[in-house]
Amino acid sequence: MEVKIGLECHVQLNTKTKIFCGCPTYASEKPNSTVCPTCLGMPGSKPRLNKKVFEYGIKAALALKCKLPKETFFSRKTYFYPDMPKNFQITQYETPIAKDGLIKIGKEEKPIRIRRINIEEDPGKLIHVGGDITNAQYVLIDYNRSGIPLLEIVTDPDLSSPEEARIFLDKLRLILEYLKIFDVDAGLMKCDANISIGGGNRVEIKNILGFRAVEKALKFELLRQQRVIKTSKVISQETRHFDEASGVTKSLRIKETEEEYGYIFEPDLPSYDLSEENLKQIEKQIPELPDSRVLRLIKQYKLNKEIANAIVSSDIYVADFFEKCSELYSNSQKIGNWIALEIIEQLNKRNMKFHDLKIKPEDFVALAKMVDNEEVSDLVARRKVILEMVETGSKPVDIVKQKHYMIVKDEGKISEVIREVIKKNKKVVAEYKTGKKETIHYLVGEVCKKVKVNPKNVLEILEKELA
């Protein structure tokens, strides 16, 4: 049955100050310490727009190929909730900053339509004490988060699996990272995910925290809905909460109608001009984006498409690392392969980010050169040395020395080992001599186990010895 998933992503923008006041946005450990009358919603306080937020929103809109209106303004979305200082949120309704955009995802470059992007304020943070949202004893409120700028990005229901949702979010995160408007480490991303199967009722999973949890929540929800359908029951249109610890979604409320927010224009803020001249200024500041970078890497470094994709889609620092290495070393394809096949694999295995690694471009290049000079084998370099460089940040020369990975070039020593192997494997040698030529590879392997050598050299010497 057809699965339809749409996402509403709320991304914290990395401006220095909040969206409607001068309070700092850094994460203060002391609750309610980075607040003022405006972000506390005190009577008489007024919002004033942080122009950076506006600029960041436009950057995102242009990067996601959206249409921008000539003029944009804010609206009040009214609903009562304890994390909302004013019990209304300043957001955008009639004229979001952007509409009708696009992100291409995956190998097939499947287009996912962006319905709208708007800027808005984050509410405070609720701390549920003695339970979760469904059963806490009481709730504390920290308003430090109140007024952190958010970019809300809403997709059409174009995603057809939880995996696709993850791929989409990874791509979105990457674009925001390239635009330098989102802090991948400190910035929060919250998602509301809508999912329906076989044209049935839509279920909304609210407030899923973090990029990875979205796939988990959707996987669970998909299974749950499939089970409900198997028992011939109907999926009810409802809002659910994802409990990260247990990995399940729980019903919050049944939705009979669409929520009622009673939008009005925000009368404390003027409308903002999005003239072409303004847009051009901002467009100039948009750096090369992931899709263009992939194309450039293929062209400039003769990488194959898959390797280029892997390098770019992983993390901005990975691609930067690749290019820095390529400046120091001409065999870019080798560097590319190593990064794509070894480094990225390590990152994924350990659930780490590239800049957590201690590896330096000059060391990585030094290792590549050692392989070229046959000081260490390609296999050992990739499987052993890189691993250690990643973990310790040590120089490849030191690692190779310490761990005795150095290839032995002394033919006398190699011949000694070869003779030993021939002695111990008389049966195999006999087989070889009767014509089973492929058994020589077994002998090569046995030699390589005992001494770090270039297998090619071993083969040559062995063939001579056995002739």
Partner: protein, 446 residues
Amino acid sequence: MIKKFVKDVEDGVIKLPEFYDKVIKKCKAIDSKHNCFITINEDASKEKPKSGLLTGVPISVKDCICTKGIRSTAGSKILENYVPVFDATVISRLKEQGAIIIGKTAQDEFGFGSFSTNCAYEIPKNPFDTDRSCGGSSGGAGCITQLADFPHVALAESTGGSISNPAAFCGVYSITPTYGIVSRYGLIDYANSLDKIGLMSKNIEDLKMVFEIIVGKDKMDPTTVDYAPVKPDVKKIGIPKQYVKGLDKKIEKAFWDAIKKLEKKGIKFEEFDLAYTDEALPAYYIIAMAEASTNLAKYSGLRYGLQLPLQGNFEEYASTVREQGFGQEAKRRIILGTYTRMAGYRDQYYLKAMKIRTKIIDEFKKHFKKYDAIVSPTMPILPPKFKEIEKLTPLENYQMDILTVGPNVAGLPHLNIPIAESIGLHVIGNHMSENKLFKVGEIYGS
């Protein structure tokens, strides 16, 4: 008047501590009879004002304007104990010039009313007759301005006529400025797209002087612009036919007498048809209530204002606080305002009212090409007795604003000139043409 007082203070002829001991005593005496204050500043005589254009000048402040360290309730029980942590921009600007706050004046709760009777505290009584209303919603401001026998200017606020109305009933001058030239930062909101802070005074000279101090762009209120004054030339004034029908006989006579007086001084008058006068009232109330219903959402007993023992969940607790903290008119406006912006009704009410507002502005603008100002009586009736007010239905109550809502919806500046006891001449100008209005006031008084 203020100028001479400030000179006397600067010259040491007037000693502020003694002066303020007397002023506060007088305020208490007036208040005991007329209830014009919600809070009197007992510490006024201890204030050490800065030296400036207003050194030591007493000002009263409508209670919806935040004053640091002085309780600001906006006339509501839900803010009974609320002491702001910051000054409104108008207050900082006046303090910067040396003004001293004598107290916070009585008003309808959040400005919701035309007679100051929708108040959680004592109802202010008319300076000429204590059985009658001061008007509203800035009733206390009008009352103290009339009764103060010391130099004084009142800061008031208007959404649909709340400055002109009590100024007329209490017989004082008032200016409601062009929307956006006086910062609303620190004003406890009624309807943000309509709220304007203005002034009352017993003479035009003081009004003008303090007006020039409070105007101008403020970075804390992004809807503000700088005041760009026009030449104070007044040659021709228009009288909307729709504004001079169905008036109280006394008012009608006083109005036409005032016109005659101005004609004698060389101003030409002409009657004309002003369109959309019937639509202005509903458009005003829809916009005002829609915005008010969102502004009042913040009062939920969590961080400030009325707090009750914690019981039930958030919604139950907030509902109880709001049930006990808001008066009847506030509840009515929350319900009506919420209704007009609900999905399904939003198009026919809220959005339509917004469109009509644009048409009203265009209509006024059209006539200002021809006239330097537009005049009418300020109120269609004389101050009613409290007993009469009790009998009014909400709709009859709202109709009292018929002459003041037009310029308020259009954000146009308007001046009240007292022309007889409790009767005012309303002079309405184009945006930024306050100078012309003051000129009419000066010509009338000369």
